[in-house]
Symmetry: C2
Subunit: 250 residues, 2 copies
DNA sequence: CAATAACTGTGTACGTCATACACTATAAGT
DNA sequence: ACTTATAGTGTATGACGTACACAGTTATTG
């Protein structure tokens, strides 16, 4: 039997309840909440152990009774910063997954610092797994097998993540500053300025025709919806294939 | 006109050539190469300014003549760690994009530390843009408009990224250790152990039926190919639609 | 009721890291 | 020969993560 990594165990409240000693003034939830507030306000860079401790009115070392180290804290943050998934109120699988993916992306836009954590962590907390569960549930009625469902969700997750990254990186998400590029328009200009049409024929042609000039629409639904439909069309095609002649996968 | 952020400028060799002073012993390429070697060997955590400097036989502060700060260095690394994209040797758009996406994922599997950087950075370096260019080029013959092409590539990139993350996170990629979970099987066990069937009906059912038990296949092509085809089917459907009745987008 | 054991939060200390600043050495232009 | 811009160095600083020993607190045990 595999042992639960300590933080994961605590995320699920599977830690033995202490029977002796002073009543704890903190708990994992409070610590995480404080850390998230800081991240929202100042970005991940502002989240230091002392900053979190200060906000809780506590010495930095106190936190180590609840998290093994800072990485642990980040993992827990990455889970509890995620709100519950949308409710499947009698929607078709397609409508639900569309809403699901958009909500997914919106979370990442609202908390860009999640981008720096999620890219590295498998979903193992209650929230992220609830999202996973709901998406799989939406596919429950379809003739896809488990692996296919799982991969479908993976693809959707990836799309949400990449879209959010793009929006955030080009600055259209609102925040700018930081390391340089601040806005899709400027991004386009920079590319146009630098691209050698010979080495980058297609891209530079696109840039001169002003693709990214008007691309504050990255945040708008139009572009996002397009890619989303792309994926869902693929799923739908597969489902139709499976429905017509029912045979095993592969 | 937008100014080039200094690092980006240097990535493209657009820096004024120095006319006086001692001959430089370093250049951005050498620094980046050293940093990448360290990242490959010890992970991103091993990449400190002093570590890189030591490897180059130079004082840490010397690096700051070439990069403004450490984040700059990471940005440059994220670009130059990427090899040239596969060659479109008379392939159909579909075959090429399939190869392209798989190659994309393989890079991320070979250098997992890229996952921690790419999630945050827009592609602005020569390598990443070359990849973008080739993918767009592959779609050149299709009736999709520029925005649609761009979004298609975004979706594919996202899929590669998420797949790689999943493989790497569940440990099937080879490396383990670090923060806990080490291997898809163990991951599955942990989930099975922790999931309340009432709160996670679908997911826990899948787990008990052993979905992740046999999922060392995540690295295998089977699962990856499935999701990829999902996407490409979507693209193909769109192309067919566009080809039949040719009207503007939206 | 006293003694013990388990637990919480603190204070201090250390090693690492990114980076600012002042300096020396070097080579090109005058 | 002299000036001047540049390259790499040495030293210093402040922030950060975290190890460790301790003091205070509470439930359990005798």
């Amino acid at each position: 039997m595999a042992q639960l990594p300590p933080v994961v165990a605590r995320m699920w409240g599977r830690e033995p309840v202490p029977r002796r000693g002073p009543r704890p003034r903190l708990d994992l939830a409070a610590i995480t909440a404080a850390a998230i507030e800081i991240a929202d306000a100042e970005g991940l860079a502002g989240v230091s152990m002392s900053a979190v401790a200060t906000r809780l009115g506590v010495a930095p070392m106190a936190l180590y009774r609840y998290v093994g180290n800072k990485d642990d804290l980040l993992i827990v943050m990455a889970d509890s910063a995620v709100p519950p998934p949308p409710d499947p109120g009698g929607l078709t699988w397609r409508d639900y997954l569309a809403a699901w993916t958009r909500a997914n992306r919106d979370i990442l836009l609202a908390r860009p610092w999640l981008l720096s954590i999620q890219g590295d962590t498998p979903p193992a907390g209650p929230q992220r797994l609830r999202w996973l569960d709901r998406a799989l549930q939406a596919l429950g009625e379809t003739p896809l097998d488990d692996g296919e469902k799982f991969n479908t969700v993976t693809a959707l997750t990836g799309y949400a993540l990449t879209s959010a990254t793009l929006v955030h990186a080009t600055g259209a998400g609102g925040r700018e500053g930081e390391a340089g590029i601040a806005g899709a328009a400027e991004y386009g200009e920079i590319l146009a300025e630098v691209l050698d049409p010979q080495a980058y024929p297609t891209l530079s042609a696109m840039m001169s025709s002003g693709l990214l000039g008007r691309s504050e629409d990255w945040v708008e639904d139009a572009d996002f919806t397009f890619g989303l439909d792309l994926l869902l069309d693929g799923v739908e095609a597969l489902i139709r294939r499976r429905t017509r002649r029912r045979h095993d996968r592969k």
